[in-house]
Amino acid sequence: MGERGKKDDAMKHRKTNLEPVAEKPETQDPMARPAPTTPHKEARLGREVQARIGQQLRAMYNDVVNQGVPQHLADLVRRLSDQDQD
């Protein structure tokens, strides 16, 4: 019955992993003015869309995870584990 704890453990990073990674401005040149063409509205929409993507992705994935271990696969693992290992 240690299964749930292990599973949760394997997933503990999920909250943080979808942080934007390489979305910093390419140019750090102080002479380059920050692009005035990025309206706040669009930037916010981008973040909302990204949050929604992460949420949907996890919902879809967890839909399957929550089905647990199908009986035939559990039986298979137990049967193979009980065999003598070479």
Partner: protein
């Protein structure tokens, strides 16, 4: 000598997420379960090569991915064909999410190149670190990061297009057509 029950439990505990990953690769629940079964057979036959204390999920995901890839080369056409079916695979969905929105998301995800979809799922859904995801896919960490970013950008584009008429009746109609008209 029988397998250490602690190791066995680690294997069992990974099966649910292994299935979720397999479905995202295969786009077909029956093939996914075959792939998981083959992975478990392979893993338990070679359990000696697993180093206790290291990352069991990452080890099993690596085996599954390699099996899938070798099969993929054999059945390339069939797998490409599966893209359309991917959106159809998981018809059940969480109640809190609108059905149309969910179907739309799946359809968008199915449009991603396999490499990008795989990276996004490993990092964004399976909860692996970029390092682990890179090890699973046998590529550089930077490659995983760029695949994840490209996947997110592409998905945002695909979903943003639809947000233009988010509340229009056309949206539901289109979703029905998109769902039923794949031939």
């Amino acid at each position: 000598m029988k397998l250490d029950p602690a190791i066995r439990d680690q294997v069992l505990a990974t099966v649910p997420s292994l299935r979720a990953f397999a479905i995202s690769l295969c786009g077909n629940i029956d093939r996914a379960d075959d792939l998981v079964q083959e992975t478990l057979l392979r893993a338990l036959a070679h359990i000696d090569s697993f180093e206790p204390g290291t990352n069991m999920p990452a080890w099993l995901f690596t085996i599954l991915r390699n099996l899938f890839r070798s099969e993929y080369r054999k059945r390339r056409r069939e797998v490409e064909d599966a893209e359309g079916r991917y959106a159809e695979t998981l018809k059940s969905h969480p109640e809190q999410t609108g059905r149309v929105e969910f179907e739309e998301f799946r359809a968008a995800l199915a449009k991603l190149p396999a490499d990008q979809r795989e990276a996004l799922i490993l990092v964004g859904a399976s909860g692996f670190s970029y390092d682990d995801a890179a090890a699973i896919c046998g590529c550089a960490v930077g490659t995983i990061k760029s695949r994840v970013n490209r996947a997110r950008t592409r998905l945002a584009d695909l979903l943003a297009i639809d947000s233009v008429d988010d509340f229009g009746p056309d949206r539901a109609t289109r979703a029905v057509l998109a769902g039923g008209g794949r031939n």
